[in-house]
């Protein structure tokens, strides 16, 4: 029998419908793959085999009768940030030790409504704060990719590093992820997978552990553009429980995938040409534009003058929101408690022991920029700069640009325990330089694998779209996927 785990989500769906195999068989194939790979890759922090088998059986009953939803019987991995009823939900943090929610996040509820099967919870940077998946309480995720001729472990990117690694290494048919500054797109780029952060408001944030509420959005990571579109269609939708969720109909995103780019205008922002950017990324960017032109798009140089201020503004806005959101972890309602001589002592000791270094650093920055006397100088100024960043994009779109093409990351994946990155927090933050602008403006952005560097490591391109025009992103990224025509499978070493 063919290896069921290697099927795309779209093909697995066809196979289930045609009764070539059952969901129980497909689910078991993934559970076996996880069991053999997870000791090396550490992509899952909790596997839920009983629940998976039960859900698969229920799907098989529906499929046998010719019934079932859009994802009936499809096994998925869920980022540990999503509340899943009765299952491990800890944002990969020590402070949420033992937390098993009594409720289900709206996005995962949508997936189960459509018939998907949960394999388990995926590793991530603690509270989604990181770009390498090294800040997890459960240890780093190791990328299934290695540089040619090297045995060194590489990072899968972050914060959705478990999601990206599990999808690339065939440990699930697709995964949920979240993106606050690049946490879907950067790991997708590092692992040769497709990841989309939809427009702010497209997916409900209800039941997702909050990091920075004005920036957080859920989205899928998948092995193909079509798979990502199928998942996006199920995940999205209006939810009265999230006041920022948008009451708009959800298109069938998969129907837009083969629409092509004929007649579209693709913007090329000159500010994304960074000093010190590797030549192969510059070349890949040009190649991407050529592919889109060959399929009938036109290319236009544009300017997004406030690009360089997006990352510094983000490192005020995101920590400020995080410091408020994470105030709830105090050793009273859930998770870890460290006893002290009085209640304040208990709070301080619990939070000191429960949060990792990066999380503490960001809470402290957020506390500082919101504190009396600094609020206007830091927070209000950053929010004004954010208005200007959004205006840059609006000007480009009003001038007839349909989508914007940029590199996804300034480099390919780096090593686990990279000394430069660990010594200087700002160096790590620079990973998100091309992705963070999109969160600041609330726009949709997709990362699609487009090429490889000299060592055979995947490189991605990013397309940025107009608000609620994810369809154009799926269509354009499909053109890149097809034109690149490369196999982004890792060579198995684990």
């Amino acid at each position: 029998m063919t290896d069921l785990t290697k099927l795309t989500l779209a093909d697995a769906r066809k196979g289930l419908k045609a009764k070539d195999f059952t969901s129980v068989e497909l689910t078991q194939a993934y559970l076996d793959a996880i069991e053999s790979a997870n000791p090396s890759l550490n992509a899952y922090v909790a596997v839920t085999p009983e629940q998976a088998t039960e859900m698969a059986k229920a799907s098989d009953e529906k499929l046998a009768k010719g019934e079932g939803g859009a994802l009936e019987g499809i096994p998925l991995g869920i980022k540990d940030l999503f509340a899943t009823k009765g299952a491990h939900t800890q944002a990969a943090s020590h402070i949420l030790d033992g937390f098993k929610p009594e409720y289900e996040s709206s996005v995962t509820a949508n997936l189960w409504r459509d018939g998907a099967v949960m394999l388990g919870k995926l590793n991530m940077d603690e509270f989604a704060m990181g770009s390498s998946n090294e800040t997890s309480y459960y240890g780093p995720v190791v990328s299934p990719f290695r540089a040619q001729g090297s045995n060194a472990n590489l990072v899968p990117g972050g914060s959705s590093g478990g999601s990206a690694a599990a999808v690339a290494a065939w440990l699930c048919a697709g995964a949920t992820a979240t993106d606050t500054g690049g946490s879907i797109r950067q790991p997708a780029a590092f692992t040769g997978t497709v990841g989309i952060k939809p427009t702010y408001g497209r997916c409900s944030r209800w039941g997702i552990v909050a990091f920075a509420s004005s920036l957080d959005q859920a989205g899928p990571i998948a092995r193909t553009v079509e798979d990502a579109a199928i998942l996006m269609t199920s995940m999205a939708g209006y939810d009265p429980k999230d006041s920022t969720s948008v009451d708009l109909p959800v298109p069938d995103f998969a129907a837009a995938v083969e629409r092509g780019v004929k007649g579209l205008t693709i913007g090329v922002p000159r500010e994304y040409r960074m000093d010190g950017m590797p030549e192969e990324i510059e070349a890949l960017w040009k190649q991407g534009l050529e592919w889109l032109k060959a399929e009938g798009a036109s290319v236009k140089d544009i300017s997004l003058p406030h690009t360089k201020y997006a990352l510094p503004a983000y490192y005020i806005v995101a920590p400020a929101e995080a410091s408020s959101n994470l105030a709830r972890y105090d050793g009273v309602k859930y998770g870890l408690r460290v006893s002290g001589k009085d209640i304040t002592d208990m709070y301080e000791l619990t939070r000191a022991a429960g949060f990792g270094r990066e999380v503490k650093r960001r809470i402290m920055i957020g506390t500082y920029v919101l504190s009396a006397g600094y609020y206007d100088a830091y927070y209000v100024r950053a929010q004004k700069v954010r208005t200007l960043i959004k205006r840059d994009f609006e000007t480009a779109f009003n001038d007839g640009v349909d989508a914007i093409l940029t590199p996804a990351t300034p480099s390919a994946a780096f090593g686990v325990g990279d000394e430069d990155m660990n010594a200087d927090p700002v160096k790590m933050y620079l990973n998100d330089v091309f992705t963070v602008t999109v969160n600041m403006a609330g726009l949709p952005g997709i990362a699609v694998p487009a090429g490889k560097d000299g060592k055979g490591l995947p490189l991605g391109l990013q397309l940025i779209g107009k608000p609620f025009d994810e369809e154009t992103l799926f269509a354009a990224s499909r053109v890149i996927e097809k034109s690149a025509g490369l196999d982004f499978s890792p060579t198995r070493w684990w």
């Binding site: 920022t244 309602k333 870890l336 939070r351 500082y368 700069v385 933050y429």
Partner: protein
């Protein structure tokens, strides 16, 4: 702007995170690296610019002021490190 050791300790207290004496110097240098990085925002002319309050042009929805959920205290306290009779238990706060 940069922070000194006293400020690091004060932020720690405000954030309710115990900072041990031997951690102060490291936090101070890390926070100053980040504050140094964000300093470039000072170059931007923001006069007359409104601070962003919402990325999507939307009005916050309102709902009727009515009870729509609840009545399951045992679920609320189910994950508490310490609870009794559906109350969260904390150290004594009033003498």
């Amino acid at each position: 702007m940069s922070v000194d050791a006293t400020t690091v300790k004060r932020i720690g207290r405000l954030a309710r995170i115990r900072i041990e004496e031997n951690e102060v110097a490291a936090y101070q240098s890390e926070l100053n690296a980040i504050l140094g990085f964000v300093e470039q925002l000072g170059e931007v002319d923001v006069s007359g610019v409104e601070p962003m309050t919402s990325v999507t042009p939307m009005e916050l929805r309102r709902r009727e002021d009515a009870v729509t959920d609840g009545d399951y205290p045992e679920k609320i306290v189910a994950n508490a490190p310490l609870s009794e009779d559906n109350f969260f238990m904390v150290p004594k706060v009033v003498e």
